[in-house]
Symmetry: C2
Subunit: 345 residues, 2 copies
């Protein structure tokens, strides 16, 4: 059945029954506002994001369940990038009236599934009609006073680190373009006969692209230890996001190509498609790993990341002036030009 | 110049300089999240809204400055409807790259102007590209613990009240359809020669439609006095919003047509256009007055509203069963069917 068949109040009722009553929320869904009691002595973190169909995503390559998970995940990542603990979410949906109710159910199941993984409660939102699907998510997190890790604290002489490995998400996007698909049961559909190894690489890359894992635990650990001087999550790509961090901190940076942790899945897919894996790692977006700067010793930082996605030193912070430089394997230094600009695509 | 000319980071810089540094905010614009220190011992209210061009508004009939004011105002109204004090806002914009920068400047000036009137600080947001303009606003407010006025507290035997007068906003919408316009200097452009009286009525109606005034002071007074048992703001229209309140409270209602406060501007415009003013007052949306229920005596309530938009008793809460009834001037009782449904337009 379509939304036009059950109407707005029918849909509100349906969503209300789909979602568990949030324990943190003071009110259920269905009032003018959501209400939340903040934990005493915590600062609030707030982030908001708009996703527009056929601009930020296409239903040709993602299931509604995964779209819900990803939408929630990338907003949680913004809280992680400040060292915060995500807590509550509001979801505003603008939907075509001819949307199938099953689509909305699956989208909410995905939002709820990802929220639950990170202790986030869906406490409210808004529904309206629109010719194309638009999703607006607002996330509320909290952090100990003065502990939020901003983009602006990097200082000359500090080391630059990234969590995990890079490039798999944009390799996944290339795989989608080449006709690979990931079903909700995690099976890969390939456009032609491919090796088991490539199929596994594509599975990993598509999971990274379609269901990125926000690094909440790692961001919290860094904030609690007071270890990171500046931090950002890699949404636009290392080159672009490092540029943001340097601009806000008033510093330059030097990245060493031979230290950049390229995801093996990115290497395998790049090789299969005749692309350059390092380009994916440096300029591909949506890895949602954390990039941070620190004056701490490498051993201390490695100790902290002894389990989980790992952490790699990729370069150092330098005084303002030359922007971001990449030291290539050959020893050549080139500007690390980035990256994604919404208005200059 | 167009957005594609200055790019995303150019636009972020421009907005950063356009807005005053928020005193409540712990961070300026430009980080992964906004940060806010909540006042101790207050509950948080959160509301979010998506506005899509050519669905929720058209640039044919509103200037970017007024669109900014209205967008902020209607979200502030959601906080007012809970008896809360609005405090901070996040604004997410999805814009076509060919948008003129001047348009974005004016939109932000309008958002900021309305925010300032109500002590709200713009602390963050998000920018992205989209073929049509989409505005996502999230508002954070606060209220004393347990004082938030929900939709669900109305009880049989209580009186039903509305602030202000109704129907002017939808009369303004009709006036726009008839070719009237309101310039930013508050002058009315009429499609033909009209009387001074009608011109004044149109000015008032267009102001009500294009720049609705959220009833923050009235909502706060009701919450602080513990006077309202349930409350909602009139966004979809009296019939529809009373229906929401009755459904959430599990009650019925009876409204008396001869007590409904019709705005004189609605009467004048309805007369000029051959429409029924009472229909506008009962079913027209976007008046953004408050509808509330109370067991208090009328004299006590009138005393509280001795200045400002005034308040009118329009009916009473009854036990569940018959829904919302309208007692017409003739004495006939008819169902007060409402109203606006996003998916059944």
């Amino acid at each position: 059945m379509k939304l036009s068949g059950i109407g707005e109040s029918g849909l509100v009722e349906r969503i209300r029954h789909l979602l568990p009553r949030a324990s943190d929320a003071l009110l259920g869904i269905g009032d003018d506002c959501a209400a939340l009691r903040p934990r005493e002595g915590r600062d609030l973190l707030l982030t908001t994001d708009l996703l527009v169909e056929n601009v930020d995503f296409t239903m040709q390559t993602i299931t509604p369940f995964r779209l819900g998970r990803k939408t929630m995940g990338v907003n949680i990542s913004d809280i992680a990038a400040m060292g915060g603990l995500p807590r509550a979410a509001l979801v505003a949906l603008a939907l075509p009236p001819e949307t199938e109710i099953e689509f909305v159910d699956q989208l909410y199941r995905g939002l709820q599934d990802e929220a639950t993984r990170f202790g986030v409660e869906l406490i409210g939102g808004d529904l309206s009609a629109s010719p194309t699907l638009v999703i607006g998510v607002t996330l509320v997190g909290e952090v100990e006073p003065g502990r939020a890790v901003t983009r602006s604290g990097a200082k000359q002489g500090e080391r630059i680190w990234v969590t995990g490995r890079l490039g798999a998400s944009s390799a996944g996007l290339l795989a989608l373009g080449a006709g690979f698909r990931l079903r909700d049961d995690d099976q890969v559909e390939a456009p032609s006969d491919v090796s088991t190894e490539l199929r596994e690489a594509v599975r990993r890359a598509l999971n990274r692209h379609l269901c990125p894992v926000p690094r909440v635990r790692e961001g919290r650990a860094l904030a609690e230890a007071g270890l990171a001087s500046a931090m950002i999550d890699l949404s636009d790509g290392l080159a672009s996001d490092l540029g943001h961090l340097c601009r806000e901190s008033g510093v330059s940076a030097r990245i060493r190509e031979d230290q950049v942790p390229v995801d093996p899945a990115a290497s395998a897919i790049a090789h299969y498609l005749g692309k350059d894996a390092m380009t994916l790692a440096l300029h591909g977006g949506e890895d949602f790993e954390l990039l941070f700067t620190s004056s701490w010793e490498p051993t201390e930082i490695h100790d902290m990341f002894s389990d989980g996605p790992g952490v790699t030193e990729v370069g150092e912070v330098e005084e303002a002036g030359h922007g971001c430089l990449l030291v290539q394997r050959t020893g050549n230094e080139v500007p690390l030009a980035g990256g994604y600009d919404h208005f200059r695509r």
